[in-house]
Amino acid sequence: MVSAAFAAHPFQEYGVNKMKRRDFLRIFLLGGFFSLFGKKVKAEKKPENKVKEAMFWRRLD
């Protein structure tokens, strides 16, 4: 129950700040469960900074 002093405040009239630990846990687990059905997206791999060996050169010994 919301006390009379808090009820005067419009945002707290519906008890939005009153989420209990159990409610949070329920939503958290539900979210985790539904995420299992989501599409897995691979994080983009940054291309390697490759350098190519040049053609037409020789070693000077």
């Binding site: 490759k50 060996e53 053609m55 037409f56």
Partner: protein, 324 residues
């Protein structure tokens, strides 16, 4: 064992100590092995009309998927693209575009050819070579706009996959090449002959710069050399100079100088002589026999094309070039 290497790609033939970068800025010696620093990393990627290269006898009215990386084998004082040609690869914004992606992008944009241009394609030889092989397999033609400052062996290897080349013949004296471009003329002339012999479609561009290479006598000498060594069918483009880079003190080329150069070349016996970088009737192709207009151009736009199956529509004269 020594870790010093020598690059044999262009006539500069840089000798590089360990961790030293070549004069073109695109190759580096790392622990005794020479690497390309620009492979698959173009700094310029555009879809251009083929007329912009310029190619006037090669698939007119089509588009070319054009790429370039940073670097150049020469240091021309009039360079139009000096911001990238004279830059280090690490100082330019680059794309990750490996050879297979270049070809797939060219297909997406419905380009008939891939052109290696803007800077000097010799500096990204490995990238160009690998791309050219894939492009050819996919029915896309390869063209390049080059200064021709490349050694004969790599040029012959590349020519097997190159369909057309536009070579800048920047002047016709060793002094001009040494003072203005920090290079030499002889290897460029050799490249022109090699490309012709290898069956690559060839066009030549000559930027006419007031007081530096606009001497009529020298232009005549150049045209006579072209006629003797490459034949009368090779198109030549006399391009108008605009003050740029380190030659800001010179005026743009007068129109009279360009028309005089065109007349000199035609009098020398060259059949297809063009004027570029300016709106002029010299942008269009005329039949050498019946003198009628074959391809009318306005800038890079082809207004009409009267070449059918490689022949003049009016008198059936064969017109040299690659038309389909």
């Amino acid at each position: 064992m020594s870790k010093t290497v020598q690059c044999e790609l262009c006539p500069n033939e840089c000798v590089l100590e360990n961790h030293q970068v070549s004069r073109c800025r695109a190759r580096m010696n790392k622990d005794g092995v020479l690497y390309s620093l620009v492979y698959g990393k173009p700094c310029a990627v555009h879809v251009d009309p083929i007329e912009k290269k310029p190619f006037f006898h090669f698939l007119p009215g089509t588009t070319a998927f054009s790429i370039a990386t940073a670097g150049c084998v020469l240091s021309c004082k009039f360079c139009q693209n000096w911001q990238i040609s004279q830059a280090k690869p690490e100082d330019t914004d680059t794309y990750d575009l490996p050879p297979d992606k270049v070809v797939s992008q060219a297909k997406i944009y419905k380009c008939r050819s891939v052109t290696y241009t803007y800077t000097e394609p010799t500096v990204f030889y490995e990238y160009m070579y690998d791309t050219a092989i894939i492009a050819k397999k996919n029915g896309i033609k390869n063209t390049m706009h080059s200064c021709g400052y490349i050694n004969e062996k790599p040029l012959r290897k590349l020519a097997k996959y190159m369909d057309a080349a536009d070579i800048d013949l920047k002047g016709f004296t060793e002094d001009f090449y040494a003072r203005i471009c920090s290079g030499s003329l002889k290897p460029v002339l050799n490249s022109l002959v090699v490309l012709k012999k290898e069956g690559v479609w060839l066009e030549i561009t000559n930027l006419v710069i007031p007081t530096l290479n606009d001497d009529t006598k020298k232009i005549r000498e150049m045209c006579t050399w072209i006629l003797k060594n490459l034949g009368s069918d090779v198109p030549i483009h006399f391009s108008r100079f605009f003050p740029h880079y380190k030659l800001n003190n010179l005026p743009p080329t007068p129109i009279e100088t360009l028309t005089e150069a065109r007349k000199t070349a035609m009098d020398a016996g060259l059949k297809f002589v063009y004027i570029g970088n300016i709106r002029h009737k010299g942008e269009s192709t005329f039949c050498p026999r019946c003198k009628k207009i074959l391809i009318e151009r306005i800038g890079y736009f082809v207004k009409q094309n009267n070449i059918s199956n490689g022949k003049c529509r009016f008198c059936s004269t064969s017109i040299p070039g690659v038309w389909s």
